[in-house]
Symmetry: C2
Subunit: 241 residues, 2 copies
């Protein structure tokens, strides 16, 4: 029997349904929800590759705007829907079970103030994902959508001068910028995360503006751990608040 859990999100203000056999939220999702610049209330936000809904869930702490959450896996949609109900957020967050490559009349193009996405990070290879179950593969590897897909569709969803924020591996940053430029998204804010002082970055957050002017700001980086187990004080204050 599959054990389902109701977990607290960092900070303890939200709870989330999770199952061990499907992809659980990770630090990336929480940080993305804190990184993106959001409209305060009258706007519209959409989260792609939403998984079990961690990004929209955490964004509700920062905005009253309506949030659509698109996820291809039914099992994850179902968890996300129950999570929103459990938190009394089912009016604010609308879970859409759909392949983002086939988004149709349930969404309106060029209407969103902000688009967020925590996409699969790894190109498909014959080796890397063969031992994973399909739920993990879809979340981690570019099987159902590539970086180009995610950025192209984000650019179609967002308004003129609206924002698209993604989290990815820093190794891919050159590719991310080139793809954003290809779809008229201008990178404007960057933030790196380093697992420890003195270590290479292992996450990058990029926010782009549709038809924005060139010129990007690089925010102070986050350093996550001060030792094997404990967060640095700055990071804990950010992550758990």
């Amino acid at each position: 029997m599959i054990k389902e859990r109701l977990d607290y999100m960092p900070g303890g203000k939200r709870t989330i349904f999770q199952r061990r056999d499907v992809f659980s939220y990770s630090m990336d999702a929480v940080l993305l929800a804190k990184f993106v610049q959001l409209p305060s209330q009258n706007g519209k936000v959409i989260d792609l590759c939403a998984g079990n809904g961690a990004v929209p869930l955490m964004m509700t702490l920062r905005t009253k705007a309506k949030i659509d959450a698109v996820e291809i896996q039914n099992l994850l949609c179902e968890l996300a829907e129950r999570t929103m109900k459990e938190n009394g957020l089912d009016e604010q967050v609308n879970v859409i079970g759909a392949d983002l490559l086939e988004l149709g009349p349930q969404i309106k193009w060029e209407s969103y103030d902000a688009v967020t996405c925590n996409p699969p990070y790894f190109p498909v290879t014959s080796e890397k994902n063969k031992n994973e179950n399909v739920h993990f593969s879809l979340a981690r590897h570019e099987i159902s959508c590539t970086l180009d897909d995610v950025i192209r569709i984000s650019s179609k969803l967002v308004k003129q001068k609206g924002r698209v924020a993604i989290v990815h591996r820093p190794e891919r940053v050159v590719d991310i910028f080139a793809t954003m430029k290809k779809y008229r998204l201008e990178p404007k804010r960057l933030q790196y995360v380093h697992p420890k002082k003195g270590k290479e970055a292992n996450m990058i957050f990029v926010e782009a503006v549709r038809e924005g002017n060139p010129g990007v700001k690089t925010l102070p980086p986050w350093i996550v751990y001060k030792d094997e187990k404990n967060y640095t004080e700055e990071f804990r204050n950010h992550y758990e608040c």
Copy 2:
């Protein structure tokens, strides 16, 4: 009368001739000389926009390779030449007084193991540089060469799989990557410098490999100051060693 000074470089192992009426070396040059990966001895290195020679001067602490230094301003070339003599480095460092757009038989294309450049950072505008003297203007603004020029020529100078390292403003990173890709230089190593903890980055170092494979590492950033006047300990140990 113009006062000329013989200054110590950080760490005190090298001295440099400087004049107040021309552009003096800055932290960027010293950090670039420490950032780039250099051949140990049999290789060839070239520094573009060399100014009074700070980058080649500091690279001699890390390599025995021959270094060419290209600078368009005669006054700066003359300072650089005397600096190399003063430090007993005139055999290792060859100062070339030339416009890099007109490099001719004095150099050999596609022959360098590493190219370094600390180029003018700012696009030419009608406002910004009108109160500067011409020596400062040429060093700071893209008058004699643009970012595209610098990267195009670097790519022509470097060997297959050789390295091109530049320092620039982080605001321009999207443009830097796109231009490098255009000229078959693949960014492989990045490093940001933040003036203080909690502040946005104000320098970026990018090292690219000619015909390299995609995938970039983001090194731990440097945080320069711990308070108004003093370097952080990590930075001082790096900068002044």
